[in-house]
Amino acid sequence: MTATTERAVGSDVRRIDGPAKVRGLAPYAYEHEVDGSAVFVALVQSTVAKGRITSIDVSAAQAVPGVLAVLTHEDAPRLGDVAEELLVLQSDRVQYAGQPVAVVVAETSEVARDAVGRVVVRYDAQRPDVDLRADRDDLYPPEKLMGGFETDSVIGDVDAALAAAPVSVDVTYETPNEHNNPIEMHATVARWDGDVLRMWDANQGPHNLVPVITEAFGITADQLHITSPYVGGAFGSKAFTHVHQLIAGMAAKVTGRTVKVELTRQQMFSLVGHRTPTIQRLRLGALPDGTMTAISHEVVEHTSQNAEFAEQTATATRLMYAAPARRTTHRLAKLDVPAPTIMRAPGEAPGMYALESAVDELAEALGMDPVELRLRNEPERDPERDVPWSTRNLVACLRQGAERFGWADRDPRPGVRADGRWLVGTGVAASTYPTRRRPSQARIEAVPGKPFVVSIDASDIGTGAWTALTQIAADALGVPMDDVDLRIGDSRLPKASGAGGSTGITSWGPAIIAAAQELRDREVPPGGLTVTGSSGPGDEAEQYSSHAFGAHFAEVRVDRDSGEVRVPRMTAVFAAGRIINPTTARSQFLGGMTMGLSMALHEEAVLDATHGHYANHDLAEYHVATNADVGEVDISWVDEVDELHNPLGAKGIGEVGIVGSAAAIGNAYAHATGRRVRDLPLTPDKFFR
């Protein structure tokens, strides 16, 4: 069944928020309250990663003209029962380098920063432990993984199957600490209007923050109003509450003023999370014809002293390929680091890098084409959950991708092609990302002669949600897009899930459709009519295994003198359900692939073993891909509508683009050079090992 009239959905509509953004008329969080009334917050951060504060002298800072308040753990407002990682300025304990230990509020940001340098903090410091190794004796299994996944999964006798396998690989891959670097730095403007906390904030869904912030300040949901219509990128780093939002509330409370907090780029490396590094041992067994007999994927990753963040790194391995014996495990090391968080395709991005690299190594060991090997092991049903797929079109993606890329005449031998001094190779990898929906509500106000006001606390973090939801609403109401007045990004709008896990369209779209259906059955009286609709996960989650899939192909060139790596072309084909808007969808795939290229070639935050801080904490030293690094990118998708999952037939598209792209590049690197580099990123130095 489909509720859409299919007029706007599927058509190439330009971003409706584009004109306002390019004219600077779309206000981002920090750009609110610009009437001169706001005061500014700057943070004093711990210079040690572990220990206790023995004294803080704020007198010199307090004496600077223009300073309104200096808060420390001794006098800051007490927070309610929030997660330990959020208990900012609540005790003398230091759990990571860069932890805020004092907060200055001043009339100008310059004065606030100046005063920060005058706060004298003494510590009783210990040497931090930030060393992730697979042979640590304190690794432990978390109770559950993020997303509610089981920590381990075992089917059959994996060790026996591996021992008996005629062909096998046993390889270990490592991925580094990585940091989200959206263009817009995290920012919050906060003010107390009586007992109501008013916030303008950069986040991935205001309702995501409500439980934590209300608990922290002992207020009800009615006493909190968060507005976030435009957000300049997030990738996961703005999904959850972080300390700066609580600091904003505290500073506003103490001073009675409107306060502005904006993190610096450097502060983002310690205060808004990171992707955990991973060490992943992959063992695959196969028959000589390529049929896999065993899959084992064991993950070691880190979490922090103040949080248990258990990334679901090997969960994609539970469903990618058929094999009778299979095992996945996750173990954590609790280190003196800031709390990790989600970063575009948490779990799948690092996990599929390892799995899809190992599959490539297995193909090499078998003397088999890596596309063929994947086709050979295509599972009929979800191999671990033993339920049917709602739709699974990986095979079509691989075949179409191979065709578009020109894979057929590929010479499989590694390290034999050159173009001048460039070593040339090609690689392939598969992609997947779960399709899910989350509870969401929408409201539509109809007044004759006026546009329909469609309200939902959805969030557009640069994805195109403003446009796609307007398209969906227009079709659901049977009107042109101009007759839809969409309102999103406000905690006073009907509660909806946040922008995360590629669930936006599958969650918000059906809620809007449900509300529109309410309206269609009724006559709109002259005075207007307001209807609501809601949607959420149903039986489909139990009955089916639902995922987007994709196939990546990449050409890699490695300079044999310098070790520099270039990716002149990438091809990807996705099977990601109904595509609501080809233009914005292509941008999502392209952004994901670019981020995957960046993960493959550049991104690594280096933890200093002595001091426990991220040593390269700015964009001059933490490299992300530049335009010059991105070559030709060919993106397409197969026709797929997954109405077994949701009435739109859509799947999430925000993350499937990054998953597998780093593996395709790594595989092409091995094909070019004849050498496997099993730890990302593929920087030039690694060529000289």
Binding site: G117, S562, H613, A615, A620, T626, F688
Partner: protein, 336 residues
């Protein structure tokens, strides 16, 4: 960030007089390095004397066929200057390999010469660093040093006040070193000329000092002497991404051939030392010898024999060896 005064002088001598009387002041060029360091609290001048409009923005011909480059010439203009492109391709290429378009528009020639190291412990005031905070030790030797020096560094352990393995980050200066440029400097006692070889120093036992300039000395211009065979020259920069990253290793080279014999050669390296590194060992080995890949490689290896890398930057030794070799091969082929 410390509060500071902003001053303008009427002429270069006035600027020198101003700054000489301000022991904690600094000259301001384009500010693309200095202002960043001030915001980070690494540089804490109390007075900025703006010299961007004081020194020359002209590139003038010298009688010998060389060029005099005003200290205020923007990096972008210098890279685009036809005489530079014609006479010293390696200099134009080096400039274009640096930073980004916006930065090159803003950055000056004088400021580029004196930009400071990108060592991440230097730019983080919470970390030990002998260069920023003399005697505090060196965070880099046991920390992140993948892109630091392999030649001419001082390594006496993390707590020694002498240890420093920083690199000079400029691309332009590597080309100027190969060209034997000299720097015209105005001080309280008048003008002097400093050969570029003597401008930057190795850390020795005083890593806090990058250069031999005294406080208050103003760079007014750079003289690049004529080198007719520099028309066959190249700048090759290896970096972590295709654009907008500092050099891991760079090579500025010019080659003068007499048939298949090396008549003369200039080689300077970037990204490997506290100053632009002139590869004199390699040059001496090559002069008068055959222009073959084997000879280039042997000379490069001889140059790098003095390298004393740490674990994480050892790759620079083979990388630099390869890049010297390859750049010379390309220059030899280009001539044929």
């Amino acid at each position: 960030m410390r509060e500071f005064r902003y001053e303008k002088a009427i002429d270069p001598a006035g600027a020198v007089a101003l700054l000489t009387g301000e022991p904690e002041g600094a000259y301001l060029g384009g500010g693309t390095n200095l202002v960043d360091l001030m915001r980070l609290g690494v540089a804490t001048p109390d007075v900025l004397v703006d010299v961007r409009q004081l020194t020359s923005t002209e590139v003038e011909d010298l009688p010998d066929g060389g060029l005099r480059i005003g200290a205020a010439v923007p990096n972008a203009d210098l890279a685009a200057e036809p005489r530079v492109r014609e006479r010293y391709p390696l200099l134009a290429q080096a400039l274009l390999a640096g930073a980004s378009g916006q930065l090159r528009n803003r950055a000056t020639t004088g400021g580029n010469l004196l930009q400071r190291t990108r060592c991440t412990y230097f730019t983080d005031t919470t970390m030990p660093c002998n260069k920023r905070d003399a005697g505090s030790g060196c965070g880099a030797v046991e920390g992140l040093h993948r892109n630091l020096a392999v030649l001419g560094a001082t390594h006496e352990g993390p707590t020694s006040p002498h240890t420093c393995i920083a690199t000079h980050p400029s691309d332009m200066v590597v080309a100027l070193r190969a060209l034997d440029a000299s720097v015209r400097v105005l001080g309280a006692d008048g003008e002097r000329t400093v050969p570029i070889a003597e401008l930057h120093r190795l850390p020795g036992d005083d890593p806090a000092r990058d250069t031999t300039l005294a406080h208050g000395e103003l760079i007014t211009a750079i003289d690049v002497p004529a080198l007719p065979w520099a028309t066959r020259s190249r700048y090759r920069k290896v970096r972590d991404r295709a654009s907008y990253a500092f050099a891991l290793v760079s090579v500025a080279a010019a080659l003068d051939l007499d048939g298949s014999t090396v008549r003369d050669v200039r080689i300077a390296l970037g990204g490997v030392a506290h100053k632009p590194w002139r590869a004199t060992v390699a040059e001496d080995a090559l002069r008068g010898g055959p222009a073959t890949e084997a000879a280039f490689a042997a000379a490069a290896e001889a140059e790098l024999a003095a390298a004393a890398p740490l674990a994480d930057n050892a790759f620079k030794v083979p990388m630099a060896t390869n890049m010297i070799t390859r750049t010379l091969v390309q220059l030899a082929e280009a001539r044929a």
